[in-house]
Symmetry: C2
Subunit: 324 residues, 2 copies
């Protein structure tokens, strides 16, 4: 590949120091630096105009940890417990009984119907404002079961560096996640530097309502509006951004179509997958995993030469707190 | 009001010339300049942090003309004519027969069902890319029936100046329109300086599909995804932007809830309505109009002291071509 040559040419732009200090030197880091250098070098063959510099990142498993369960599920379960005093019927009614009793064996069998019941009970029937507050309150007190830290501590330091590096080169960084848009927006600006208007995600229907005093509110209804996962990620990118990204990063089969959609544009493209290979510092999982399965997208990445991050070998540190 | 005093204080910021040259001096222009000065003056009581500087504009009747019919309807009708050779059955089948025969009397009676049939026939069954090209091809050749000019010539010069002035003060300018998101995005950046990712609008469902050669496309299906009008504008702002605007401009009852939603935030707010009062240079219409009815929103604006633009008296010129 000519990539090495181009990266060498572009190196002066990065001369002031290591801009991805948490990434080990090697082909993955070189591929990223090379892409940024090539696409932002004025007059270069691969130059991308600033308005077209759209970079999309999956969230769960790509920007932060998604084990042992998606953090939004942990939020939903904790919220069932918090709301339980107002719902005495939940003590006997599934799936709530199992959640309250921490009965994981039964929970594992609840399927989509049970999941949707939990989401409706914990994510709807309140205003968008009250929901945002519930998310922030939860993040302030909840702790990850393994690391005993706030969930927002479990973001990947190497990805924070990559987000900042892209923005320093005038890329607009977006989240494109299967997670709930209202679950992410209250904190993504603080944690990732990604403002609410650059967060694309799944969402429910909201309803405009005037309170008796004339104050308008948006009430979250128990009806799905849009699922931003799999093919839905390409749909969501088109719906919310209206431009095809030139850079996309995911970690699971749910990101395959986002990467395909990115790859299908003309000119320079970057498609990346995080492969969770570090069972000591984080988690190791891929093809048979229930959470964040990486199987078909991995095959396609191998076949098409997309960049695959080997967490164990490519990342010097996983979490920001390791630096302290 | 203290507004005048604050505007006087802030005047040095605008000292280098008239930044809204197509607006006549008077209370409307003063209210706009005063708001921008107050909210962007560092240390001022009404200062708005840059990330919160979200300004939302309706499109039809606010940024460009919407008479004698919404321009997207003109596009749809022209597209029926362009597609007619492939649909011989349309010669006898309503509503297509009436469109092909320019039978306005019958067309006026078709109602929502007929409208949706036309939209399905002209806006779906093709890829997003092919649709965007159809829009641009149409804009390049179609002419407005009264002004005999491309439809994109019929944007309001005073609003172009306002958009530019807001952006110069680090406001992010958005379109929030009942019109189709895919109809607007191909040209809003060139015409208004508003990039696709800052266009919120109505949309249909799109479907991700792999072509036989492996190329992914998004196909527009004949199913409504979201109507960005009336209460839907507050919903759309929350869905796409995820922040409450501090500045909003509309012209009809379909903008009422966008303005209410904007007004309900804390701190300095600007709510504006364009009142179409100039039947000579543009069109004069309000309460009883079928297109762009301004009735309930007008009452609310009067009651709450929102800014109302009197086109005839507040605007020196309507269209950019008048300046040439």
């Amino acid at each position: 590949m000519a990539a090495t040559g181009l990266a060498a040419m572009a190196r002066p732009a990065f001369a002031q120091g290591d801009l991805l200090p948490s990434w080990n030197d090697g082909p993955t880091k070189r591929a990223i630096l090379d892409f940024i250098a090539r696409t932002t070098q004025a007059g270069g063959r691969d130059w991308v105009p600033v308005p077209e510099r759209i970079a999309c990142f999956d969230n769960d498993g790509t920007l932060w940890t998604e084990q042992p369960v998606y953090f939004q599920i942990a939020f939903a379960f904790d919220r069932v417990k918090a709301l339980a005093p107002r719902h005495p019927e939940w003590r006997t009614q599934e799936p709530f009984r199992s959640i309250l009793a921490d009965d994981r064996a039964t929970l594992a069998t609840l399927g989509e119907k049970g999941f949707l019941e939990v989401m409706a009970a914990t994510h709807t029937g309140l205003t968008t404002e009250a929901f945002g507050k519930a998310v922030l309150d939860w993040l302030a007190t909840a702790r990850h079961p393994r690391f005993n830290r706030p969930y927002t501590d479990l973001v990947y330091q190497p990805m924070l560096e990559l987000l900042a590096l892209l923005r320093a080169h005038q890329f607009k960084t977006y989240i494109v996640s299967g997670g709930g848009i209202e679950f992410m927006r209250p904190w993504t600006e603080r944690v990732y530097g990604i403002p609410p208007e650059q967060v694309v995600g799944s969402s429910g229907v909201t309803r405009y309502e005037l309170r008796p005093d004339g104050t308008p509110v948006l009430v979250k209804d128990p009806k799905v509006m849009f699922i931003d996962d799999g093919p839905g990620k390409a749909v969501g990118i088109n719906q919310f951004i209206g431009r095809r990204p030139v850079f996309a990063f995911g970690n699971s089969d749910g990101d395959q179509q986002m990467l395909e959609w990115t790859a299908a544009g003309s000119g320079a493209r970057f498609m990346g997958l995080v492969h969770h290979t570090d069972g000591v510092r984080e988690y190791a999982y891929d093809r048979p995993s229930l959470v964040g399965q990486l199987d078909k997208a991995w095959n396609e990445a191998l076949r098409r030469g997309w960049t695959i991050v080997d967490m164990k070998n490519d990342w010097k540190v996983i979490y920001p707190f390791e630096l302290k």
